[in-house]
């Protein structure tokens, strides 16, 4: 008995000695846990974010979404179809092996051919990848493809030898990259621990250990930051902002993300399925009606009262750091009088009835925003019935264009307007694969031509011009009704030195603890 007690005491003493946190450990309280550490498995922010700490891509972004070199020191395109990437020498994977052109070719191929790859689209425009020498890779595209460097950010580089040795499925939990951090352990649902890669080619990270803890409950996440159990939390609940702002040990940071929330309006059909029109025609085909809807929604009030101030009014269909944004476009204010006049001119003095389809589990406060839109539109005579449903049902329905008015968001990723113009603004065309997400089936040949030109033109200045023109055309046609851009909010201890990134990734290499 005595010896049993002794052992117990020893165990207790040992655990107490072992438990104090190691110096320089940064603890990140995350709203969402990564799904898999295979960088091609699933494209979403929480998963990509952790993977960019473990892997590098050939190209990378700075805080403001500007391209900077990654594993490629530089790149050039001698002709419209060819790209040469000059690889960095002396870079090593976490297992000590050398990074060479072999790994780049292997990674791009696996990204496009692995059956469970969720990133196939990133390399679909590539025709061929060749090794020129161990540190030079030539990529040939199927057609001129201006945003190839942006696309290469999405293809994190894996070690060919490691993947071939351990197999595809093992990569979900056993990653080997060249990144600033190595995986130490991952206890799903509890914590994921990374340790610094001292031999990192950008230099040794300043924080030795990073602990990512999934704290999915909003109140718990905030409490953990206030009680100093974590240094950083993401996706800060808007109702806790006041409390966090008042705490002088903490700091709240926010930046607009790349997602714009908007209305999709059915413009293709003479008879829209969910419209109750007094004239029997589809009122949404009239640009005056679409403009009236734009003017009739009080976006400022929605941001203030429903979004708790976390949002910014959208001037166009994407936020300002997207390449192709036109800063000359301004947002007309909320104007009920003008909206009513436009409806009258269009022949709907008493408005019409319509169903607004929305999600109730996809975007922040989606259902409440849809209700507010309905309330605003009722003031100009449009009787809106809100149908807020789970995303699993909403998107398949929207894909079939079985909507007359839909509320949803779109994020351009990479941050280039072509990622809006082709999938949303272009005429729906299954063969071309364009207009895939054009739920309202908007169609303007001029916009189609501009979108196609912007995707193949290789001159950045010219592209900006083309896409700005398209941005203006979309607003003139009121092809979509842009409402507001979502803003990403983080909160952190003042001990943590960090500048928030536009892409929302938490890149620990950038962080330091004071």
């Amino acid at each position: 008995m005595k010896s049993a007690m002794k052992t117990l005491l020893l165990i207790l003493a040992w655990t107490m000695i072992a438990s104090p946190a190691l110096a320089q450990t940064m603890i990140h309280g995350a709203a969402s846990e990564p799904r898999a550490l295979d960088p091609y498995f699933y494209a979403e922010t929480p998963t990509n974010s952790i993977n960019y700490n473990i892997y590098d891509a050939l190209v990378w972004y700075d805080h403001d979404a500007k391209l900077i070199p990654g594993l490629a020191e530089k790149w050039e395109n001698p002709d419209a179809l060819t790209w040469l990437f000059y690889l960095r020498k002396g870079v090593k994977f976490h297992d000590g092996s050398d990074f060479t052109a072999e790994d780049v070719v292997f990674s791009i191929e696996r990204c496009g051919s692995w059956a469970r790859s969720g990133f196939k689209d990133s390399v679909r425009d590539i025709a061929k990848v060749e090794i020129i020498d161990p540190y030079k890779v030539k990529i040939t595209t199927k057609a001129p493809f201006a945003i190839l460097p942006d696309m290469m950010v999405r293809v994190m580089i894996m070690s060919k030898a490691h993947v071939q040795k351990t197999g595809d499925d093992a990569q979900a939990t056993n990653p080997v990259g060249t990144g600033a951090y190595k995986l130490k352990e991952w206890i799903k649902g509890d914590h994921l621990t990374l340790t610094a890669n001292a031999a990192y080619w950008r230099g040794a990270p300043r924080i030795e250990t990073v602990n990512l803890r999934p704290l999915t409950n909003d109140a718990t996440r905030t409490a953990a930051l206030i009680s100093s159990e974590v240094h950083l939390i993401d996706d800060v609940p808007a109702r806790d902002l006041d409390r966090l702002n008042k705490d002088d040990r903490l700091e709240v940071t926010s930046k607009p993300g790349n997602r714009t929330m908007m209305l999709y309006l059915d413009q293709a059909r003479q008879n829209s399925p969910k419209v109750d029109s007094p004239t029997g025609k589809n009122p949404l085909q009239d640009v005056r009606v679409r403009r009236a809807i734009h003017l009739g929604i009080n976006v400022e009030a929605i941001i203030k009262h429903i979004m708790n101030g976390v949002g910014e009014p959208a001037t166009q269909t994407y936020p300002r750091f997207i390449y192709g944004y036109d800063s000359s476009i301004t947002r007309p204010g909320h104007n009920l009088q003008k909206a009513k006049e436009l409806l009258k001119e269009a022949g709907y003095p008493n408005g019409f009835g319509i169903t607004l389809d929305a999600t109730n589990d996809r975007y922040p406060n989606d259902e409440q925003v849809a209700q507010a839109i309905a309330a605003d539109l009722s003031k100009i005579g449009i009787k809106v019935k809100v149908n807020a449903i789970p995303k699993n049902n909403f998107f398949p329905m929207a894909d079939k264009a079985d909507v007359s008015m839909a509320f949803a968001g779109w994020a351009c990723n990479p941050p280039d307007a072509i990622r809006f113009l082709l999938p949303l603004a272009h005429t729906y065309d299954q063969k071309l694969g364009a207009g895939r997400y054009n739920y309202g089936r908007y169609s303007n040949p001029k916009v189609d031509a501009l979108a196609q030109e912007a995707s193949t033109n290789m001159d950045p200045k010219k592209r900006l011009e083309i896409m700005s023109t398209a941005s203006r055309l979309l607003m003139e046609d009121m092809a979509f009704v842009p409402l507001f851009n979502l803003v990403n909010v983080f909160a952190k201890s003042k001990k943590l030195d960090w500048v928030q990134r536009i892409d929302q990734y938490t890149w620990y290499f950038d962080m330091a603890l004071k």
């Binding site: 655990t15 438990s19 499925d169 649902g189 509890d190 999934p214 953990a224 159990e229 699993n392 694969g433």
Partner: protein, 321 residues
């Protein structure tokens, strides 16, 4: 005994089969998992390729039969969302949930039975008033509110206990257990208490009601007349006679705490199965949902079996047939 176990197994296999069919049908009808597996800007080509790869383009019966064929060979498939074997995901998380549920039930029994006995034997005491009104609160307070309040008081204001997570664990026979370390115990305290509070209240009321009834019966009078001490009358003779309903409820509630630990798990960021399964349901991750049901159903079968064994121990007239 052996035949009894065999029949139990046979019954549970039948139940599992029916459950899997119903769940499969519900999942099939409730939307398209492809939406959850690919980025929001995926091209039609990519969507079609993925659907074909996962066999989601096949008709319902073909999908169900191929699931059944694999399941009978012990393969529940890989999680759509994590690309890891579904059973492995569940079993990795099961110890955390079991540890939480079992600690909560032990806490509930240790607090509930003595409190219920006391309230029955000394109905006029001031302590009884507190116990009974406390149990009323315990039954009516929502779990998430309790949890958040505990975090606010003990983590944010007092800073005594960690707000969330499982803390340090120690390996015991290959299973990670938190209560073996001091840090783990500190992490376990608040979630276990939150989960236990409802069960304590339930057990208190059940024990008190049963006890008050039994204490009026003739054999109690007889025992007293024989001159047995009050302690022996209450703790040995009366208690054993009220235990059958109490054990039944404890058994049922153990199953309930395992299956419904989700709210507590989510508040305290406890890495148990509940969170995993709720996410799986949201993302229509069929392999994980089905694997979870299998594991939980087996657990229920086991708990019921234990309850039956306890019956025959408490009341020798009951035989396992």
């Amino acid at each position: 005994m052996f035949a009894f176990i065999l029949r139990r197994i046979y019954q549970s296999v039948l139940v599992l089969f029916c459950v899997s069919l119903v769940v499969f049908a519900i999942l099939y009808l409730s939307g398209d998992p492809i939406q959850m597996l690919l980025p929001a800007d995926a091209s039609q080509e990519q969507i079609d390729e993925m659907r074909r790869h996962l066999g989601l383009d096949e008709p319902f019966w073909a999908q169900y039969l191929s699931f059944l064929r694999n399941a009978l060979q012990g393969d529940m498939g890989r999680s759509f969302t994590f690309n890891q074997p579904a059973v492995k995901l569940i079993l990795e998380r099961a110890p955390a949930t079991l540890e939480l549920a079992v600690s909560a039930m032990i806490l509930a029994i240790l607090l509930g039975i003595p409190a219920g006995l006391f309230a029955a034997v000394k109905p006029k005491s001031w302590l009884t008033q507190i116990i009974m009104s406390g149990s009323l609160f315990g039954i009516s307070l929502p779990v998430f509110w309790m949890g958040i309040m505990l975090i606010m008081v003990f983590s944010v204001f007092l800073g005594w206990l960690p707000s969330s997570g499982r803390g340090q664990t120690a390996s015991f026979g290959g299973i990670q257990l938190g209560f073996l370390t001091w840090d783990g115990c500190k992490h376990l305290l608040m979630p276990a208490f939150t989960l236990a509070i409802h069960q304590v209240a339930m057990i208190v009321r059940l024990v008190r009601a049963g006890m008050m009834e039994v204490m009026l019966q003739d054999y109690i009078k007889f025992l007293r007349a024989k001159g047995l001490s009050e302690r022996r009358v209450v703790l040995v003779h009366a208690l054993k006679n009220i235990m059958i309903p109490v054990v039944t409820i404890i058994g049922l509630q153990t199953g309930y705490t395992i299956a419904f630990a989700i709210v507590t798990e989510s508040i305290f960021a406890w890495p148990g199965m509940g969170k995993l399964v709720i996410d799986a349901i949201h993302s229509l991750d069929r392999p994980v949902i089905l694997a979870y049901l299998l594991v939980v159903a087996l657990m229920f079968v086991f708990i019921n079996f234990m309850v039956d064994l306890t019956y025959s121990f408490l009341d020798p007239r009951i035989r396992l047939k």
